[in-house]
């Protein structure tokens, strides 16, 4: 396969698709669970569907250079739509499907969208709401016709009809699509992915076929991915990670993507498919672990005892066995027994029985969490990258896994650390530029061709990259000590009871924090202790919960005290927020990163109260529901002090 790809004839995604349709016509390319049954499309069927869709789009007037918005959950036809647009020399622009109508306007306008392919009525309604602000939008195509019977706008088309139209067109002009595919060049933009907008307005990142094929190639060769592999495609299609794994790598290597039935059934669908290749942000791994732990607490004493005993064995030697390091014979025997009784069944419940390679990225992963999966035999690794670098800058090689680094640079990628600690990247996987923003592009890519990632990090002694925070977030406390908020927040978030944390301290004397409790874990904890509560707001303000969280904060402080650079960043005071931070209220990005600046502004009273030493503070906040309605939550928030430790390093010196 890899030999073929170096041929110039396989240098774009449509060419790769047609290649698979020829070489492995009957190999499954796409699966989707529908009506309770897994439906399969082979590579030749997918190629036919894509041809029909592309011709249909062309019939409607879609031309080379046009941008095609794609909005919806992971549906086969939406993945095919990407390739259909590419066949015609157009650019697919996937959008986050859970964005509210107003948020979509910006991208629709910025990308000059004329055509949109969307999943269902819900997304159609959002676009119709935006029609006035997006005069350029000419055609909307929908996948699922349910509820669409009474929409009679002439610019709405069902994908079925469009594909039928395309099939007729194909019969009359059999050479048309192949001719269009031949016109496509590897330097053409293959996809435009919008940054999540952690820093201001989203920017359209233009990636070429060459870049994504390079990223896919390096990943596939690195982990020896073959057509027989299976992946569950359940992450937002607008995210670079999903685009790399479910589109670029699948189309490159020819393996099978599997679309779940709905967002609520991912766990069940994963068990049924048993993917061999898996990708998830740390939060998903964390949710899974939390669920396992909650259910273990409800298990019988025998099972619980067995679980805890063998998890102890796994902690001692599991990760080492996976890495192929020497382990004593007794431990090996115990681990084998544990594998039979605990780890195997547990992997099965998680749908991870067949996983060969699993990756996590997008945020820091807690060492305990990471170790847990590796110790039960799941080959979980970390990678580093961003939308601008096709998510393929660093990869951890098998056997060289560290908890706090993201591995050495991937083959063909050059990584350098700037004087201010910023990570810089150069290589084939780099963006062509930001869409219609030459000044931003010039700012991000320097004269030597390095892309400035905006992340602060350094190489450790083995040449593995370690990322600590966003470069611009790293600040200083009033006494001059380094303050890396993300680092502290991650330390806090590693506790299962804490879902989100926001740390403040830049230019202040000490660090204070907002906490969001994890409703599932803390709720369960409260029920066990017969603590009655009516909802999040009520539970968050219970004195017992404050005690619980204080314990976590103090443990985090103790760990921070060990770190010479960051021991001054211990959390002195904290409060538990009355509502969960939510992307709908602009407090988190769609990829669930906290927008610290926005939060600081919105909750300025709370920060003031934290630093003035008050014992409580009243706050009322407006919340937005998913359907666009608004409501208000208010509460009297308690503010609590946490014990801090003397810096360990300093103590030793003294």
């Amino acid at each position: 396969m890899s030999d073929n790809v170096r041929l110039p004839s396989l240098s774009t995604f449509p060419r790769l698709l047609m290649h698979h349709a020829q070489v492995r016509p009957n190999h499954p390319a796409t699966r989707e669970k529908d009506m309770g049954i897994w439906q399969t499309w082979t590579w030749s069927q997918v190629a036919e569907e894509v041809r029909a869709m592309a011709s249909g789009l062309a019939e409607l007037g879609f031309k080379r250079g046009d941008n095609l918005a794609i909005i919806g959950d992971n549906r086969p036809r939406l993945y095919w739509a990407m390739c259909a647009a590419q066949c015609l020399g157009g650019v697919p622009v996937p959008l986050y499907q859970d964005a509210v109508a107003a948020e979509m306007v910006f991208v629709l306008q910025d990308a000059g969208i004329k055509f949109a392919i969307v999943e269902d009525q819900e997304q159609v309604d959002k676009l119709l709401e935006n029609m006035a602000q997006c005069p350029g939008l000419q055609h909307i195509l929908y996948d699922d016709p349910r509820g669409m019977r009474h929409y009679n706008q002439p610019f709405l088309h069902g994908l079925d009809e469009v594909q039928e139209m395309g099939r007729i067109h194909n019969r009359n002009h059999p050479e048309f699509i192949d001719g269009e595919i031949d016109l496509g060049q590897p330097e053409d933009v293959a996809v435009m992915l919008y940054t999540s907008g952690t820093t201001g307005k989203p920017k359209g990142v233009c990636q070429t076929h060459a870049a994504f094929i390079a990223a896919a190639q390096s990943g596939c060769e690195f982990d020896k991915l073959v057509p027989g592999d299976n992946i569950l495609s359940y992450l937002p299609m607008a995210w670079v990670g999903d685009h790399l794994f479910s589109f670029a790598q699948a189309t490159y290597a020819g393996f099978t993507i599997n679309c779940p039935e709905s967002g609520d059934t991912v766990m069940t669908d994963m068990r049924e498919i048993g993917p061999s290749y898996y990708f998830a942000p740390p939060r998903v791994f964390e949710n899974l672990l939390t669920q396992v732990m909650i259910r273990m607490e409800d298990a019988s004493a025998l099972k619980r005892g067995m679980f805890h005993y063998f998890m102890g064995v796994a902690r001692r030697c599991g990760a080492e066995i996976l890495d192929g390091k020497p382990v004593s014979g007794t431990d090996r025997l115990l681990y084998a027994l544990g594998n039979l009784l605990v780890y195997g069944p547990l992997r099965n419940v998680l749908g991870m029985s067949r996983i060969r390679v699993a990756y996590t990225a997008g945020a820091a992963i807690g060492p305990d969490l990471f170790r847990f999966y590796r110790s039960i035999g799941v080959n979980l690794k970390q990678l580093y990258g961003s939308t601008e670098t096709c998510a393929a800058v660093c990869l951890q090689p098998d056997g060289q896994i560290k908890f706090d680094t993201v591995g050495p640079p991937a083959p063909g990628v050059e990584v350098k650390i700037a004087d201010n600690g910023e990570v810089m990247v150069r290589g084939a996987v780099m963006l062509k530029g930001y869409y219609k923003r030459p000044e931003d592009t010039a700012e991000a890519i320097d004269a030597l061709g390095y892309f400035h990632t905006g992340d602060a990090g350094f190489f450790d002694e083995d040449g593995h990259l370690k990322i600590i925070d966003r470069a611009k977030d790293v600040g200083k406390l009033a006494n001059g000590a380094m303050f890396a908020p993300n680092y502290i927040e991650n330390k806090l978030k590693f506790f299962s009871h804490i879902k989100e944390a926001v740390a403040f301290g830049d230019g202040k004397d000490e660090v204070c924090a907002f906490i969001n409790i994890d409703m599932g874990a803390v709720g369960n904890w409260a029920e066990r202790r017969n603590i009655a509560y009516s909802g999040y707001t009520d539970l968050a303000q219970k004195a017992e919960v404050y005690e619980l969280i204080r314990d976590c904060v103090e443990q985090a402080n103790a760990e921070l005290a060990h770190d010479a650079m960051l021991s001054a960043s211990q959390v002195h005071r904290f409060l538990i927020l009355h509502k969960e931070l939510d992307p709908d209220d602009d407090e988190l990005t769609r990829t669930r990163k906290v927008r610290r600046g926005f939060i600081a502004e919105k909750y300025a009273v709370l920060i003031e109260a934290l630093y003035s030493g008050k014992a409580s503070q009243f706050i009322e906040t407006e919340v937005k529901f998913e359907d666009g309605r608004r409501g208000r939550v208010s509460a009297d928030l308690r503010i609590v002090e946490a014990k801090t430790c003397l810096p360990q390093a300093a103590k030793k010196a003294a």
């Binding site: 529908d34 009506m35 309770g36 349910r146 019977r149 009474h150 709905s262 609520d264 069940t268």
Partner: protein
Amino acid sequence: MSNGRQIGEAILDLQNISLRFGGVKALTDISFDVREHEIRAIIGPNGAGKSSMLNVINGVYHPQEGTIIFRGKKRHDMDTHEAAEAGFARTFQNIALFKGMSVLDNLMTGRNLKMKSNFLLQALYWGPAQREELEHRRKVEEVIDFLEIEHIRKTPVGRLPYGLQKRVELGRALAAEPKVLLLDEPMAGMNVEEKQDMCRFVLDVNDHFGTTIILIEHDMGVVMDISDRVVVLDYGKKIADGTPDEVRNNEDVIKAYLGVAH
């Protein structure tokens, strides 16, 4: 409602229905009709006779007086299973599902009337029985997809929250592919969000399958929003009948609901 469905002729015509339990008059001389494909609401204060009316329609009670004309023919006093075969399905005020069975199995019971192969073949899951079951399963999956309950397909009903149980009950009624769907307080005890969901499903059922729906509901907002016509009962008598707007402004209705100033 900008709705493309065609409301047709009267499918069900109730003429001068009176129902007595001993000396208690539950319904007195009530007449109204239900047109094909419409959403018809029956409202009224507690004890007005709404559920009795529903029970008359699906054959649980047999009125002492009056005539029921269904699809142009006078209906004899039928049993509930005859009513079900004629295309009536219903949900109940208090959920009546098999709590220990999965959602899927509960919905399959809704197909019971349509199963033709005999008990022995079904037990052996052999030949025609197998083919038949697969066909029924496909229909049930359509309902599951329609009501968006894929994630609880295999969950025992007893473990589900109340709002979802209501939805499963609607699903079981739908699995029978009814011509007329009787809903007895489908939104009772639900929170705002669940009510909105349920409203959407009721409207979708009506729109998508063209099912005629007769609905009892206490939530006036819901009734006025989704029904085409409303009949109002009070103390077993009909006091108003018409579109939601007509009913809303009817003085007798206002009196029945708000009481009369003495």
